[in-house]
Symmetry: C2
Subunit: 219 residues, 2 copies
């Protein structure tokens, strides 16, 4: 006599939860986390206000689930994509492509992730921050290898990588699907700017105007 099956019917409750997460991400993206009420979510999902609480404890956990699912997926997919790639610049390109791909295919979730980070309170906040640290550490390692292979970068490494994230994470503020380029061209542009930009090869702009020319960027 077997133990009672843990989930006798592999419920479609998980499917419905995912639906709620998707719809909620859309509303959070449009009106912000604090600017969205549970009643808004109830109307959009066509689930009664109290019915929502069958799927999660609190509005905070709802935000947490969206952020964690999104972020976890991005990091895991990046690791898969990196598996077959050795060349440092190709790895950096994979990083950017993975990020931008997701940004353009799941704009709502990404906006919530970028924009509502601070709306999360502290048991949850630290968990998401941990994933973020892991992601950033990976990006930094990839960048280090690029710099090592090429000429040395003249820039503060942390600042350089964060500038790369700046270019990527700002996309949600301006990208218009019909008008702006798709993921591939966007990736090319950002990787292009960053790789040329960060290399010490003195091209046309090897001598940049600067306030203090004699002591530029030295650490």
């Amino acid at each position: 006599m077997a133990v009672a099956a843990p989930t006798p019917t592999p419920r479609n409750t998980e499917v419905k939860l995912q639906h709620i997460l998707r719809v909620s991400a859309q509303i959070f993206a449009a009106h912000g986390f604090e600017g969205t009420s549970m009643r808004d979510i109830s109307k959009a999902t066509e689930i009664s206000l109290s019915g929502l609480y069958y799927y999660f404890d609190s509005k905070q956990r709802l935000l947490y689930l969206i952020q964690k699912n999104t972020f976890t997926f991005i990091v895991e997919r990046l690791q898969e994509r990196l598996a077959g790639i050795d060349d440092p610049t190709a790895r950096l390109r994979a990083l950017v492509q993975n990020h931008i791909d997701y940004f353009l295919s799941h704009p709502n979730e990404m906006k919530v992730l970028s924009h509502e980070e601070e709306a999360l309170e502290n048991p949850f906040r630290q968990e998401v921050a941990a994933i973020k640290r892991k992601y950033f550490a990976l990006a930094r390692k990839i960048h280090e290898e690029v710099v090592r292979e090429a000429a040395h970068s003249v820039f503060n490494e942390r600042v350089a990588v964060l500038s790369l994230f700046g270019m990527m994470n700002w996309v949600y503020q301006w990208h218009k699907p019909g008008i702006d380029p798709g993921a591939d061209e966007l990736t090319d542009t950002i990787v292009g700017i960053f790789l040329r930009g960060v290399s010490a090869a003195s091209g046309k702009f090897g001598n940049l105007p600067t306030t203090v020319p004699s002591e530029v960027h030295s650490e």
Copy 2:
């Protein structure tokens, strides 16, 4: 007999309003616009809840005043600084320096400007959007001149300038005053990455790995 002076005493009410704007920007930066109550502002300013409404009509107008003051100042200061500069790359440097300077000296106001743009509702929203368009158009013109003087950029121009703004506007998400570089070094890094990055000079990374090598970035 002179006409009654328009403002017989040059009221310190304007000074007090500026104080309220400064304190409010700080709280909005910390908890978000929707996450901040008028009662929070009342406590922090030590002005009674109803007393605040002597200085502005509504919470919306408070946000509007912060955003408009901040943005107007940045644009005007940039125009002053550009007045004496002819060299295109020096002008671009002035743009970035002006932006980063303000970001680091008024982090709260800048965070509110970057983060709470969408919290503003529609009579106000359009006014701030108009200043933003003006600023962006100016940035684009400056960038055009850089590209014209140098080799042609291979990148979509709008995307390139928006990537520059991405690097600049993301700063508030990570910059830690004691740890990260100050305005000058930050400006050098961002201008450096962007200018090298955007130039067509084929340096070390003239041949970037790309998904579709034969049709890169063509418009």
